[in-house]
């Protein structure tokens, strides 16, 4: 093999291969960096809760003086719901279903001597909007255990308001989720006792959320039987930046509860920018691939006579192709390693800035980016090998 390589390395142009390595390195670094940067930065824009679907909006009607007094008028009618459901920007629509019975909850750690008791309300949204393990986010008649999602505000209110001024211990989310609530339900002449367990906190849903299956059952069991119109809707949209949403809401006098639309816009722009950067990276990589292929073609062409003679003295095409395949494989591997090095250096630099700007940012690993890099390496190398094999096969068939 040493002799074959001695022959076939003739006419190798260092310049061309250095050019390829550089171009491929730049392309790959742009792709990997763009991908990694998106991974790192998108965690800033996506809120911390993982159990709600991404592109949804909570819709309410504006509370006006008259309706505030009468207690009516800010719930949605059936026709309004239908209309919203058929809008082109709507992917799906869910209703907030309120509980039609009275609830009181007490919670405490008796050995610490803290005990709260409070009147409460429950609401539910269809399960498809709650991205939580559906086997746990469920209730069946006969269960005495109800999973609950609380607004994170409630916890903050306690920790930074109540506990702070009263000298009470602060509670972390983990501790809270270990505490169970005693829940009493009354209505329709019946009462029931249940254990509530807080399974999560939500930044974006200002309600005490229980599984729909629980309310469906409990409203029949304890409710008055009156139909309750929902005052809040949960809306999943195709694209939160769609300006038709804003126009529609203005025309109808609807409001959204949070800044999801703004956040959606930022994320969307981020995606666009990263998309453009990735596109440029891919383009450069494709061009680099092209340079390498041209170099190899040229090399094979210049060494055509030697290759032909090797084939005629009994070397197989795959054996003759092997040195060139090994060469490209080696170059690709070098480029991959260098790209990861550059990525690590650049990332270290921008992470420092990000951490200063957003102290509570959660930094993920580079696992996915490594996978992307390896995937590109495998695909590009495979294509290289195949093209070289084909080129040698042409020489075998004397088609040049």
């Amino acid at each position: 093999m040493k002799l074959v390589w001695k022959l076939l390395r003739q006419h190798i142009s260092i310049g061309q291969f250095a050019g390829f390595t550089l171009a491929n390195l730049i392309g790959l670094v742009i792709i990997l960096l763009g991908f990694q940067f998106y991974q790192d930065v998108s965690s800033i824009f996506s809120s911390r809760e993982s159990f709600m679907k991404k592109d949804y909006i909570v819709v309410t009607k504006q509370v006006q003086a008259v309706s505030a007094l009468t207690g009516k008028g800010n719930s949605f009618t059936t026709s309004e719901i239908k209309d919203l459901e058929t809008q082109p920007f709507t992917r799906s629509l869910g209703l907030f279903q309120p509980a039609d019975f009275s609830i009181s909850a007490s919670m405490g750690m008796k050995n610490v001597g803290i005990q709260f008791s409070t009147e409460m309300f429950f609401e539910s949204v269809p399960n498809e909007f709650v991205d939580y393990d559906s086997s746990q986010w469920n209730f069946q008649p006969g269960d005495d255990f109800i999973p609950i999602i609380l607004p994170r505000n409630y916890l903050n209110l306690y920790n930074f308001g109540f506990a702070q001024t009263r000298g009470l211990p602060k509670l972390s989310e983990n501790i809270i989720s270990m505490i169970s609530l005693d829940i009493s339900i009354k209505g329709h002449g019946k009462s029931g006792h249940y254990q509530g367990k807080i399974v999560g906190f939500s930044n974006r849903l200002n309600t005490i959320l229980v599984p729909q299956s629980f309310l469906d059952w409990a409203n029949v069991e304890f409710g008055s039987g009156e139909q309750v119109h929902p005052s809040r809707l949960i809306l999943e949209v195709y694209n939160p930046t769609d300006d038709r949403i804003v126009k529609y809401f203005q025309a109808k006098g609807y409001e959204t509860e949070d800044d999801k639309l703004d956040q959606g816009k930022t994320t969307w722009f981020l995606k666009i920018v990263v998309g453009i950067v990735l596109g440029v990276g891919v383009l450069i990589t494709v061009l680099a691939f092209y340079i390498l292929m041209l170099s190899i073609y040229l090399l094979v062409q210049k060494n055509a006579e030697k290759l032909e003679n090797l084939l005629l003295i009994g070397y197989s095409p795959s054996r003759v192709a092997y040195p060139y395949q090994l060469l490209t494989l080696g170059l690709n591997a070098i480029v991959l390693v260098l790209a990861f090095l550059v990525l690590m250096i650049v990332r270290k630099y921008y992470l420092e800035i990000l951490e200063t700007l957003y102290p509570d940012i959660i930094i993920g690993g580079i696992g996915k980016t490594v996978l992307v890099g390896l995937f590109l390496f495998v695909v590009v190398s495979f294509l290289n090998m195949w093209v070289i094999h084909r080129k040698i096969a042409f020489i075998w068939k004397r088609k040049g």
Binding site: L3, L7, N309, L312, I313, G314, R398
Partner: protein, 215 residues
């Protein structure tokens, strides 16, 4: 491989002269048998090297059929050709097809490493016997054509074969060296029971040919 058959073979370039063809090879049914010694005599331009190229699967610009043990060579796959070129057929090309960048010895090794057929000692002995012992480490590009012919012969012997084709092997050799080359060729062929096909456009080795064909 026991026989090579040529059935009505004609190079495409001779197609226009098909009716005028008078040859012992072209448009004939001819069989080369293993263990026999053939001389193909030709004027230049009558397609002597083409015949070798066809049989080696290097060129396909002919009509008719070439069969190895009744198998049409058109049906051979790449792997089969590779195997045939290592085990069954050997050739000393008229244009030698050596690698000028490598030394004489490297040119032999690049073949012998593939087949592992001859010992280094044997190869060294052949270099000496053919009078090119001092050229072992010289780049082939710097040797005279006659010296190159001898290197190419050694290379063609570094593999097992059922048939060996030598295309004008002595065109640039003196009588003494021609004789040594002929002896070497025949003794190796006899050892393997192989068929030998020598081509010539005039000057040829004086051997005991079984059949002389006029191309």
């Amino acid at each position: 491989m026991d026989k090579i058959e040529l059935k009505q073979v004609l190079p495409l370039v001779f197609e226009e002269r098909r009716s005028l063809m008078q040859s012992d090879v072209w448009l004939q049914n001819l069989t080369f048998q293993k263990g026999h010694l053939y001389l193909v005599e030709a004027d230049s331009g009558t397609g002597k090297s083409s015949m070798c190229s066809y049989i080696f699967g290097y060129r396909k610009d002919f009509t008719g059929q070439i069969l190895f043990d009744d198998k049409d060579i058109h049906s051979l796959r790449v792997a089969e050709w590779v195997d045939i070129r290592i085990r069954c057929l050997s050739i000393l090309w008229q244009e030698l097809r050596l690698f000028p960048e490598l030394t004489a010895m490297e040119n032999i090794q690049i073949k012998n490493q593939l087949t592992g057929f001859k010992s280094q000692k044997q190869i060294d002995e052949w270099f000496e016997r053919l009078g090119i012992g001092d050229k072992r480490d010289s780049k082939v590009g710097r040797l005279s054509f006659g010296q190159q012919q001898r290197v190419a012969l050694i290379r063609s012997l570094c593999q097992p074969f059922d048939f060996i084709f030598v295309d004008e092997p002595i065109s640039h050799l003196d009588e003494r060296n021609s004789e040594i080359l002929g002896e070497l060729l025949l003794s190796e062929a006899q050892k393997q029971g192989a068929g030998v096909i020598v081509t010539s456009i005039g000057k040829h080795m004086n051997l005991d040919y079984d059949q002389i064909l006029k191309l």
